[in-house]
């Protein structure tokens, strides 16, 4: 049983990388806007499908396809923020929840209409041959997923902690009126952050398309998984969320990979585990695994 453990750990690292990319964007925008974006998973799905459109259907090569789909996703992110989130922020905290659910459903049904509801995937000819390394099988694609996730998350950390944009983001998250009083344009910062979060999500969506497959209904379940990572790490806490994403990947893979006293769980229950984790954490440690209890007014 222990012989498959290294393989499971590597698999968890791959899943965790994708979850980390998906959820760090969500945590970034939640930290700033305090809005739960239910459509985040659907934006991932749109990223994957625009890439599918340009790369597979229009047969563009990788780079132009990536540029075009990034442009589409940036436009979508800007529209989503200006039409579906910002107008509702002042009225009630419930409204953006409802409108982002509506946005997610709209995106899902549009993709179902234009691309069909069937499962699709990206062709990856050279990347599918596994390399064996000490009993662990890994494909070049998976190495790329892990390393690109680490690089992107590193850059994200640099932006948040070392650049003036990052300082503005943290200032607005802490005290919006004071930050605006010091001349920081909160609109500009909100758009920038939201667009970064959509790009991260779209990139994660494309990786999902290469690593497994995509379908229009994937959005909802990835939204919930990103929430799970965020709840694990504490809402709005980026580093906590990234750690939460890797923990989620680990738990999912271990739960179905290991057998417990001769009894192993069917693979379908993998998703149920993510949701049970959310419930358990909400019940026992609502501030997240890495959060501290704070009283807000």
């Amino acid at each position: 049983m222990l012989s498959i453990l290294p393989q499971l750990l590597v698999n968890s690292l791959i899943t965790g990388s994708i979850y980390a990319l998906a959820s760090s964007g969500l945590a970034l925008s939640y930290g700033l806007l305090r809005i739960l974006n239910f459509a985040h998973g659907h934006i991932m799905m749109i990223g994957a499908y625009t890439f599918l459109f340009f790369h597979v259907q229009e047969e563009m090569s990788f780079l132009p396809a990536a540029i075009f789909s990034t442009a589409c996703v940036v436009a979508l992110g800007a529209c989503a923020l200006s039409a579906f989130i910002l107008p509702f922020m002042r009225s009630s905290s419930l409204l953006p929840l409802i409108t982002t659910i509506a946005l997610g459903t709209i995106l899902e049904s549009l993709v179902s209409i234009f691309f069909g509801v069937n499962v699709r995937s990206f062709p990856s000819a050279s990347a599918s041959e596994s390399i064996e390394c000490g009993g662990v099988y890994i494909t070049p694609l998976q190495i790329f997923i892990i390393s690109s996730a680490l690089v992107i998350l590193g850059v994200l950390g640099f932006i948040v902690h070392k650049t003036s944009l990052g300082r503005k983001v943290r200032a607005i998250a802490e005290n919006k009126p004071a930050a605006e009083g010091l001349g920081i344009s909160s609109t500009f910062v909100m758009y920038t952050v939201f667009i970064i979060s959509t790009i991260l999500g779209a990139y994660a969506g494309i990786l999902v398309g290469y690593e497994t497959n995509i379908q229009p209904t994937m959005g909802g379940s990835y939204s919930i998984k990103a929430f799970a990572a965020m709840v694990l790490g504490g809402l709005g806490n980026i580093w906590g969320t990234i750690a939460g994403a890797f923990i989620l990947g680990l738990v999912e893979n271990l739960s179905i990979g290991l057998d417990f006293w001769g009894y192993s769980l069917p693979a379908g229950y993998k998703d149920a585990f993510a949701f049970l984790i959310i419930l358990a954490v909400l019940l026992l440690r609502p501030q997240g695994l890495f959060g501290t209890v704070s009283r807000s007014s």
Binding site: S92, L95, L235
Partner: protein, 297 residues
């Protein structure tokens, strides 16, 4: 076709049954989401619990109508106690995530617990109810049955809306601390509302299973939740008559799509798109009125 013929046609009776079904489902959501402003995303999960309870009891145990319906209602109520025990400790965003996680656990179980629910294949051959020698395979008779139950539910819920319980629920939604200071038991009131709302969703689920004779997990997806949510929002949350009007309007609205020359594969996504579009439009239009600002004391 003249009017009398149209109104007694099978198609009209089918629509009337759907309206009765959604009246129960939407008006019960209106109790928690409308009156209590609890963003309960697990309502359709309660509906699923009721539907599966009836489906399994009537096919596996051949239980009579009254047993099925009582067990469905009680099980959904029990489900609400469990859900309320966890989710009602949480507030705002956490509450939404918690209920969403709960409903995802239910749908993961419906798909994966194959020995009980038969997974995505669903449960076929659910017999219509049988008592007093009435043939409920005739849709007219079934309409009479569900009509009686829908009417009773509406009366019950109307009584609740104007009862002290309804007032406390409204007060808690408007200003929780003031209501609590005046001696309202926050947790108890909300748990009771949750229990009633979820039991009635179970009742609707039971009728759904009886009516279609077949259920599968896809009937209880998030898109169904979006539809019920749309009904309550279009009817104005907390408004009894509004939700009745909105149910009739929204059930009938996508019907003309049937008569257009559209590929049937597009029908589902188009209906979803229509509902989500209406949901967004109504929220946009009413964003300052939908959830009134909390009154200042």
């Amino acid at each position: 076709m003249d009017l009398v013929q149209l109104l007694t046609s099978d198609y009209a009776i089918h629509l009337a049954i759907l309206i009765a079904l959604y009246l129960i489902l939407a008006q019960s959501l209106n109790l928690t989401f409308g009156l209590g402003q609890l963003f309960n995303l697990a309502h359709v999960a309660s509906y699923a619990v009721g539907a599966y309870a009836t489906a399994l009891l009537s096919t596996e145990c051949e239980s009579p109508f009254w047993v099925c319906i009582t067990v469905s209602v009680l099980l959904s109520g029990l489900f609400a106690v469990l859900l309320g025990g966890i989710a009602l400790r949480l507030s705002n965003d956490y509450f939404a995530i918690g209920t969403l996680a709960f409903s995802s656990v239910v749908s993961a179980l419906l798909i994966n617990w194959k020995s009980l629910t038969k997974g995505v294949l669903g449960i076929p051959g659910i017999p219509r109810p049988e008592f007093f020698g009435i043939d409920f395979y005739q849709n007219v008779n079934f309409l009479a049955l569900i009509g009686v139950f829908a009417a009773l539910t509406q009366v019950l819920l109307y009584c609740l809306y104007v009862s002290p319980l309804g007032r406390s629920l409204r007060a808690l939604a408007e200003y929780e601390r003031a209501a609590a200071a005046l001696g309202t038991d926050t947790r108890l009131i909300r748990n009771i509302a949750f229990f009633i709302s979820s039991s009635l969703a179970g009742l609707a689920g039971s009728f759904f299973a009886y009516y279609l004779n077949y259920i599968d997990p896809s009937s209880f997806a998030l898109s169904e939740m979006v539809f019920v949510l749309t009904i309550v929002i279009v009817g104005k949350p907390g408004s009894f008559m509004g939700v009745i009007g909105a149910t009739i309007f929204l059930v009938l609205l996508p019907e003309p799509l049937r008569f257009l020359d559209i590929n049937s594969a597009y029908l589902g996504p188009m209906r979803q798109l229509l509902h989500a579009g209406i949901l967004f439009g109504v929220v946009w239009w009413n964003r300052h009125r939908l959830f009134p600002q909390r009154r200042q004391v």
